[in-house]
C-alpha cells in the first residue's frame, strides 16, 4: 500500500483553542503585530457593520473559549486530537472506526425508518410498503439500513480479527476486548430482532425458527423463548417486544459500551503492529531525531501492512 503523505494543516484553518501549542523554540504564532488596517481604518472610524464583521470573525474562537471556561473540554479535545498514535499504525487500524461509522449509519437511517414504521402485526407490513413505495427516498434509506447491517457485521468481525491477530487484547487492553465481545453479541442481537420487523413470510418463519432454537437451550432455553415470543404464538406482542429491544434496549447498551470502548482506546492508546520495534538506541537519541517520526527508518506503516 502506498504511504500516505499528508500536507501539514495550516494553523489558520484550526480554531485557536484547538491549535497545537508551538514547540518550544519554534516561533509559534506571530504576536503583538498591529493589524494592517489600523492606519486606514482605526477603531474609532469603523462603522457598525465593520465592527460586527470583526466580531463575527472572532465568534468561533469566542464560543470555544466560552465553552472551555465552563467545561474544560478543549484541553481534553487537544489531548485527544494530538495524542500520538504509535509508529507503524496502518490501514488495519481503521476497521474499528469503520465499524463505528457503520453503526452511525444504522442509527441515522433507523431514526428515519422509525418515523414511518408501525410496529403492529396488522400494519407493519403495509408501513414498510409505504416506506418503499411512497416516502421520498424511503426505499434508499430502507435499503441502506438493511444492507448496512451486513456491512456492520462484516466490519465488526474484521475488526475483531485484526485485534486478535495483532495480539491487541493483551495487557493492558484486556478490558477493551471484553467490552468488544459484548458489543459483538449486542450487534448480533440487533440483527436477530431487526429481521422480524418487516413482517414478511421470510422474517416471520425465520424468527419462529430462531425463537425455537433459543427454546432448545438447556435450563434457560424455554424461559428465553417464552420471553422472546411474549405469548403462545408469534404475533402482535412478539413484534412489539422485538421492536422495543431493537429500538431502545440494545441500541442504548451499544452506545454506552462504544463510549466505554472509545474511552479506553484514547486512554490506553492503540497498539503498534506487533512486528514493529522501537529499535532502542544504544546511545541516547537526540530529541530532534525522535521528533522526525517514522520517515527516517525502515519499518514504516507500508512495510507493516505488507508483512501480513
Amino acid at each position: 500500500m502506498p504511504k500516505l503523505r499528508l500536507p501539514k494543516i495550516p494553523d489558520s484553518v484550526v480554531p485557536a483553542p484547538l491549535r497545537k501549542p508551538a514547540k518550544p523554540g519554534r516561533g509559534g504564532l506571530p504576536k503583538g503585530q498591529a493589524p494592517a488596517d489600523l492606519k486606514t481604518a482605526p477603531p474609532e472610524r469603523q462603522t457598525d457593520v465593520q465592527r460586527l464583521g470583526d466580531k463575527a470573525k472572532d465568534a468561533p474562537a469566542d464560543v470555544l473559549a466560552w465553552v472551555d471556561q465552563r467545561t474544560g473540554a478543549t484541553g481534553f479535545l487537544t489531548g485527544m486530537l494530538y495524542r500520538k498514535v504509535p509508529k507503524g499504525t496502518n490501514w488495519f487500524y481503521t476497521l474499528g472506526s469503520a465499524t463505528l461509522f457503520a453503526f452511525i449509519v444504522q442509527a441515522v437511517t433507523g431514526v428515519f425508518l422509525a418515523m414511518f414504521y408501525t410496529p403492529s402485526a396488522t400494519q407493519a407490513y403495509a408501513s414498510i410498503s409505504h416506506i418503499n413505495n411512497e416516502v421520498p427516498l424511503g426505499a434508499l434509506v430502507h435499503g441502506m439500513h438493511k444492507w448496512g447491517s451486513s456491512v456492520m457485521v462484516i466490519l465488526i468481525f474484521l475488526h475483531m480479527g485484526r485485534t486478535f491477530f495483532f495480539g491487541a487484547y493483551k495487557y493492558p487492553r484486556e478490558l477493551n476486548w471484553v467490552i468488544g465481545v459484548v458489543l459483538l453479541i449486542l450487534t448480533m442481537t440487533m440483527a436477530f430482532t431487526g429481521y422480524l420487523l418487516p413482517f414478511d413470510q421470510r422474517s416471520f418463519w425465520a424468527s419462529i425458527v430462531g425463537i425455537n432454537i433459543n427454546g432448545t437451550g438447556p435450563i434457560v432455553g424455554p424461559y428465553l423463548s417464552d420471553f422472546l415470543r411474549a405469548g403462545p404464538e408469534l404475533g402482535a406482542t412478539t413484534l412489539s417486544r422485538f421492536y422495543a429491544i431493537h429500538m431502545l434496549l440494545v441500541p442504548g447498551a451499544i452506545i454506552a459500551l462504544i463510549g466505554a470502548h472509545m474511552y479506553l482506546v484514547v486512554k490506553l492508546g492503540t497498539t503498534a503492529p506487533p512486528w514493529v520495534r522501537a529499535e532502542k538506541p544504544k546511545v541516547a537519541t537526540p530529541v530532534a531525531e525522535l521528533d522526525a517520526g517514522v520517515e527516517g527508518n525502515g519499518a514504516g506503516p507500508s512495510n507493516g501492512a505488507s508483512a501480513t
Binding site: 499528508l6 498514535v85 441502506m144 429481521y195 418487516p198 425455537n212 503498534a272 506487533p274 517514522v294
Partner: protein, 233 residues
C-alpha cells in the same frame, strides 16, 4: 505476563508512541477515507440490491423459506451437523455459548507476552481454523436452497399432500426421497414405517424442537399432508 514483561511492554510502547504521528490529522484522514468507502458501499448496495419485501407474513400460508439472514447461516448449519434430538441443546445454545465464553475470556487465559501472530502458533492456528470453519458453514448455508419440489412417484390420491409438503418449506429441514436437506430435522422418506399417523399429525401441529408449528394451516391441507406422510413407508 510477568511484571517485568508488562514493564518492558509499556516502555517499548512509550518509545513507539514517541516515534509515531499525531492522531489528527494523520489517523483521522485514514479513518475518514474508510468512512467514505463504508457509506459509498452501503448506498451502492441499497441502490443495486434494494430492499424488496417478500409476501406478507401469514401463519396459514404454506409458501415460505425459513431462512435466516446470511450471517446466521453458520449457526443453522451447526444444527445440520449435530442432529440427534438429545444433542440439539448442545448445538443450538451450547456451542455458541461456549464459543462466546471462550472469546470473552481470551485475554485471561492467553497471557503470554508474545504478540506476533507467527510466534503464537496456537492462537493463530485456532483463529485461522475458526475463520475457515465459519466461512465453510456460511458457504454451505448459502448454497443449500430450499427446494419446493418432490420428485417422487406417489399414488394419485397422495399427489395433493405431496404438493402441500413441497410448498410448505418442510424440505428446508427434512429430506424426502431425493429432495430436501439433511437436517436439522430427521429424514422423512420412510417416516410412516417409524411413526404412526397420529404422531405425525401431532408433530406437525406442535412443532417439536426447533420446528415451527403448522397448526394454523387450513384443516384440508393438514389432512392431505398427513395422508401423504403416512403413506411413506
Amino acid at each position: 505476563m510477568k511484571p517485568q514483561d508488562k514493564q518492558a511492554y509499556l516502555e517499548e510502547y512509550e518509545l513507539l508512541k514517541k516515534k509515531g504521528k499525531p492522531f489528527f490529522p494523520y489517523a483521522v484522514l485514514k479513518d475518514s477515507a474508510m468512512a467514505l468507502i463504508v457509506v459509498v458501499v452501503i448506498i451502492a448496495m441499497s441502490v443495486i440490491l434494494g430492499a424488496e419485501q417478500g409476501p406478507k407474513a401469514d401463519p396459514t400460508s404454506t409458501t415460505y423459506v425459513p431462512r435466516p439472514e446470511w450471517y446466521f447461516f453458520f449457526l443453522f448449519e451447526v444444527l445440520r451437523v449435530i442432529k440427534p434430538p438429545e444433542l440439539v441443546p448442545i448445538a443450538t445454545i451450547g456451542i455458541p455459548t461456549i464459543c462466546m465464553v471462550l472469546l470473552l475470556l481470551l485475554p485471561f487465559y492467553d497471557r503470554g507476552a508474545e504478540r506476533r501472530p507467527e510466534r503464537r502458533p496456537i492462537a493463530t492456528t485456532a483463529g485461522i481454523f475458526t475463520i475457515i470453519a465459519m466461512g465453510y458453514l456460511t458457504f454451505l448455508g448459502a448454497t443449500s436452497g430450499s427446494p419446493t419440489e418432490i420428485d417422487m412417484e406417489v399414488a394419485p390420491q397422495y399427489e395433493a399432500g405431496k404438493e402441500v409438503v413441497a410448498g410448505a418449506g418442510c424440505l428446508a429441514c427434512h429430506k424426502i426421497g431425493e429432495n430436501g436437506n439433511h437436517g436439522p430435522g430427521p429424514d422423512l422418506t420412510h417416516i410412516a414405517s417409524r411413526v404412526p399417523r397420529a404422531a405425525i399429525i401431532r408433530s406437525v401441529e406442535i412443532g417439536p424442537g426447533i420446528m415451527p408449528s403448522f397448526r394454523d394451516l387450513p384443516q384440508k391441507k393438514l389432512d392431505e399432508l398427513s395422508d401423504f406422510l403416512s403413506s411413506l413407508d
